[in-house]
Amino acid sequence: MNYIIIGNSASGVAAIEAIRKYDEKSQVTVISDESYTSYSRPLISYLLGKKVTPKMMPYREINFYKDNQVKLVLNSKITKLDLSKKEVVLMDKQKIHFNKLLIAVGGKPINLRIPGSELNGIFTFSKLDDVGEIERYIKTNKVKKAVVVGGGLIGLKTTEALIELKIKVTIVELADRILSSSLDKKASNIIEEALKKKDCKLITNNSIKKIKEKNNKTKEVILKNQKRISTDLIIVAIGVKPNMELVKNTPININKGILVDKFMQTNVKNVYAAGDCCEAKDLISMKSRPIAIWPVAVQQGKIAGFNMAGVKREYQGSFIMNSIELCTIPIISVGESCSDKDDCQILEHFDCKKTIYKKVVLKNNKIIGGIFVNNIERAGLYTGLIRNKIDILNFKEHLLEEEFGLINLPKFYRKNIL
């Protein structure tokens, strides 16, 4: 049996571990277009901001590939996926045959498509290589000012890193607030205030129309409202979409991401997909959609690995959630945290002095979302209640109490999970 795993991040590593749990002998080959062994992708902003050293980057122990007898093919782009012959063709024309294939190629950052977006000094930020490139650019051009396009997770973590490097940042965000997909106005406001205290400028309800070169180093960003910002560096963080380049022109079904069944298998037998490149069952909407977060990538990679090794396991589905610390403020958001539809009820606790905000969104007596700012203790309890679709009617009034815990839950549920 020959397994090939394309991609060497969260899903790929989880798949290796899952396959090796049940199959110690077969050949496992991992192909990656990056030149590194697996690293912690979310840490690249920490590395840029010098909060961690390069030593912290590896996601697994140094002997991981050796111990798991994995053949690593790094720095190698795949030029063709030949599903009828069951082989992948590498850049150097080398062909590798597989019996089972996992596509775990992740997401691709969306680029700006406006006049001037081809100029230098404009970067997306999603790979370890980007850290080096941005660092070099900052050093050679003595960057003092930056514009970050997009106030989402990546945009904000990059902003924080740039601030650490003593660079003055202006964020340009299309929505009326930062982190608009996971935080409501109250929560994002707490972070916005903290950013302003760090001398970070925030422009909302706006977008970039044009980028003009002023001189070698400095550029001018022209916004929708004609406002002009002079900058030395531009970071584009307007989103990530599933990377489907490899499956283009193949019979593999796609929608917004690669489509898979509950065993993480695509419509082509023995070809699996996992992680940010594919869609997943959303347990709240019960629809299939890309959920590009680390835990989902790991779960899917694991399930794919088990099934590839012949151990039938179903993927249960998940939902969007994120945990991030910005300006030393911890924030957790889970599920449909911003839903304000008529059939939803919102419970909240807001302490503006301590900038503590806790909120849960209810629908039909079940929690479907939550936001926790500055007091994130035990946030996972709510995640569990969402996942297990527990009826909260009998303990609703305790949900946001400081002392809320398993003790408030129905005894049968508590006994069952403990």
Binding site: P42, K51, M56, W294, P295, M321, S323, E325, G380
Partner: protein, 147 residues
């Protein structure tokens, strides 16, 4: 594998487990020093929940399919293959709190003083049994196999 089992019917809420846990995970392992002198202050890895006549001591369940393991972005959380325990490597933790977000028991705690390290039960590796179990006066937490 052996686990810490919770018997809420027998818990009297004395919180001795919390004290023993904190001292066990202090540098000095001396109760006075642990409470008065150490920085960052050691944290008990146990939460005692209490409401009316019910109480119980809760610590990491060392789940077989641990959500915290899946969510950990740095690889700080890891599975100890020999014991099945879910352990963590303090040096690798960056305090992203993904583990706190996904733990359905809400049992992973932040050490607010040193900020960057989530503290969790390590089953008192090296001891014959976890100190919370050993020192529970009413067998409300026991060391055994789950049925």
């Amino acid at each position: 594998m052996k686990k810490i089992l919770i018997e809420e019917e027998y818990c009297i809420g004395c919180r001795l487990c919390e004290i023993y846990c904190l001292v066990q995970h202090s540098k000095s392992k001396n109760i006075i020093k642990a409470y008065k002198e150490e920085y960052p202050k050691p944290v008990s890895r146990i939460i005692v929940e209490e409401k009316e006549y019910t109480s119980f001591a809760l610590q990491c369940r060392h789940c077989e399919e641990a959500p915290c393991l899946e969510a950990c972005i740095t690889g700080a959380m890891y599975l100890d293959k020999n014991t099945g325990a879910v352990l963590y490597n303090e040096d690798k933790c960056v305090g992203c709190w993904m583990c706190i977000m996904v733990c359905p028991f809400g049992i992973i705690l932040r050490n607010i003083e040193n900020k960057k390290v989530a503290s969790k039960c390590d089953l008192c590796m090296g001891e014959e049994m976890p100190v919370c179990v050993k020192n529970c006066p009413n067998e409300a937490i026991i060391w055994g196999e789950k049925e």
